[in-house]
Symmetry: C2
Subunit: 132 residues, 2 copies
Amino acid sequence: MNIGVASEKSGLPAKTIRYYEDIGLLHPARTDNGYRDYSTADIHRLRFLQRSRSLGFSVDECRQLLSLYQDRERDSADVKAIAKAKLVEIDRKIAELVGLRGLLHHLVSHCHGDERPDCPIIDELAGQGVAQ
Amino acid sequence: MNIGVASEKSGLPAKTIRYYEDIGLLHPARTDNGYRDYSTADIHRLRFLQRSRSLGFSVDECRQLLSLYQDRERDSADVKAIAKAKLVEIDRKIAELVGLRGLLHHLVSHCHGDERPDCPIIDELAGQGVAQ
DNA sequence: TGTTGCCTTCCATCTACTGGAAGGTCTATT
DNA sequence: AATAGACCTTCCAGTAGATGGAAGGCAACA
């Protein structure tokens, strides 16, 4: 399947998909005309990259996460250790998002009319202006 | 308080804190000797930035999130709309992290000894190698 | 009064893309 | 067959968001 379709299916721009190939994150086949030809497995890798990048993992961390599924050279205990460390990190991220969610939710439900919310957390954040 | 302390309290490198000032995300006071002097409110802003950046929000989105708490010019309904949109985005991020967590958890709990996991999701991801 | 550590600015470098030019390919229509 | 439009290719330059390092000022203490 062509890069346009891969882009649509993965949610990543074609430019980014080519870039990921450049830095060795995937190696799609080529058709006779020189076009990249993406398999279903490629699409899964791309979707995985899209997800984990958008969630704040660096490209190198994504590389590590991807390698968990396929590095047959690496010792299994080692794979498990990395996966567990990533799990801890993911749990921390989830907790932080939940916190952020609570903060925003508080704002939405306590902000009515032209009044400002009356909340110490928000008051502290409201200390000063921010350039637009 | 000095930038070193602010760095420690916010979890952001001093370099990054100065950069955030450069792009107008905060405006700390200065002491007579020219040193930056961070208030408690500054620390909260920095922690907020650290959190939301690490969760995949762009600097501009962070700017928007910060403005929710302090932009007294903006119409309140508008503020609410932005906050609600961000809530939807945060919920999506949480759902994606939970999905990622499940995938990794599956790997950890099904990967023992030198055997590879036996799972279609993982098999599909394992389609090919990744450059280290 | 050194020396150690933290602070300043400025400029270069890095990561992770993103845009645009110049040109080849595919498909449909005239 | 030719031409248009949408796709694809590579290559090179630019941007966003930091990050590293040099050169030098300030602070605290033996």
